[in-house]
Amino acid sequence: MEAAASALEREHVHRVYDKIAPYFNDSRYKAWPKVRQFLLDQQPGSLVADVGCGNGKYLGINKKVVILGCDVCCPLVAYASSQGHEVQVCDGLHLPYRDGVFDAVLSIAVIHHLSTMERRVRAIREMARCLRDGGRIMIYVWALEQKYRKFEKQDIFVPWNPDPPLAQRPMRDGAQSVGADAHTGSDAHRKARSTSSVAEARRQKSPRLWFFSRSLDSVFDFGSLSVSHSSSRELSVSVATPAVGMVSRGRGLMRQVSSFFSPSALSASLEEDVFEELSDLQGDQQEGGRRETARDVPSPPPPAAAIMAKYGSLPLPDMVPASKGGGEESGSGSGEQGGGESPEEEEEEEEEEGGGLALSGASCLRYYHVFREGELAELIEKHVEELHVITSYFDHANWCVVAEKIQVWKI
């Protein structure tokens, strides 16, 4: 299972982030307010770790503490380093820090990328190891229960930028010509985006795509795997039957299992980033409106740089379609997931990372295990005795826990 889990993560987390990194590291992205506050609450002179720091957006918030960032994604770490932060490349399951050195640790939107419960627990334990007694950890993970909808399953693949079923994207080309260079991101560029209503209309028509899967945990619990086919409008379908412990790379994916249309609904962002103006958007039900309010959108790359991603991808051993008509068609909301029919649009937390990039969605599926209510706290309470949950809450589509490192006395 370990090999399958790490292969899945390599394909559907690490490689995707490597690809989207150039479009992800926009320094204009802001931090979640409560995370920001957690950082600001630290005593001056504290030592803090941001495990899974990505582009480093939390690293500069509190200048009175020493904060070390680490991430498995080299390009993102390189970017964070270029901003003057102390960062390392490493893997969350094997942190390169000695025991008990940190006063505080952040794990913001990271462990939901681990594909088995055991690995998620290990990641939390690794971070706990590096915390001093009395030190605190703040963990954010994506929630199953979203503001307007609920995912049907907890283990999902979210397309980075899927081809819409209608397979035309006039908007993208238009957008490309509008945008300035992603990294210089100018105000002019922003204005150009926000006045685009065509994209908005477009996005309202196109479906959101999710891919559901059974979790690797459940797959390997059963002795035999059920294999199912599903026809797809666009993607070829194939199912691989893995040998126990090994998943071979295949060329197809199970097609998405549920789609729905989301007209004007506020896309509660699952993305870890939030803009400072978010409070202005609280009542704003328009995706378009949200888009307009300062969502800085890096422009898509010039066509010449568009990458035609290989279609190959790692199929999960058992990807079954979720029930059709899962009621998600209500159109009342998009869970924001989603690849987005208008890839160049940014407000979806996914798209934020690089809308417009011409990567075929299939090869840029990010794996997530979305957490149900109470799951994260329960995971810690049951499996991480060295952490004691202090508080647990829901924040902008994330389940959040703050826990304290305690001394465990063994009798």
């Binding site: 030592l47 390392q88 893997d91």
Partner: protein, 123 residues
């Protein structure tokens, strides 16, 4: 990589019990100017493995006369704190590697960033 960071890093190769401190093999080092805050430095000191810091600084030729033993009552010793400040926060290894003292495995440092990823056979 600053020496403050180095002080926290350890080798985590499977089976290694004495992976700390990592030996610095630097091919490029630079010294930046960082604003001095005595209270800040003073708060950092208790978190450090002092001998590892001294060893690392010495290896880079930036010992700054730091004593092998931690000075008593350092909180009020501005001169001492300034030396610590320089070693901890201003000296930076840009290129080189960190070597596990037990296994010999080297972790590269490139553009100031250590890559601590292990290979599959090392976990």
């Amino acid at each position: 990589m600053k020496l403050l960071t180095h002080n926290m890093l350890t080798s985590h190769v499977k089976g290694v019990t004495k992976g700390y401190p990592l030996l610095i093999k630097a091919t490029e080092v630079k010294v930046n100017e960082v604003e001095f805050n005595s209270q800040f430095v003073s708060r950092m000191i208790p978190k450090l493995e002092w001998s590892a810091l001294v060893q690392a600084a010495e290896g880079l030729g930036h010992l700054e006369d730091l004593s092998a033993e931690l000075v008593a009552d350092y909180e009020n010793n501005e001169e001492f704190l300034k030396k610590v400040h320089k070693v901890l926060l201003e000296v930076e290894v840009v290129e080189g590697s960190l070597q596990c003292p037990e296994s010999g495995r080297e972790f590269p440092i490139s553009r100031g960033v250590p890559n601590m990823l292990l290979n599959e056979d090392e976990v």
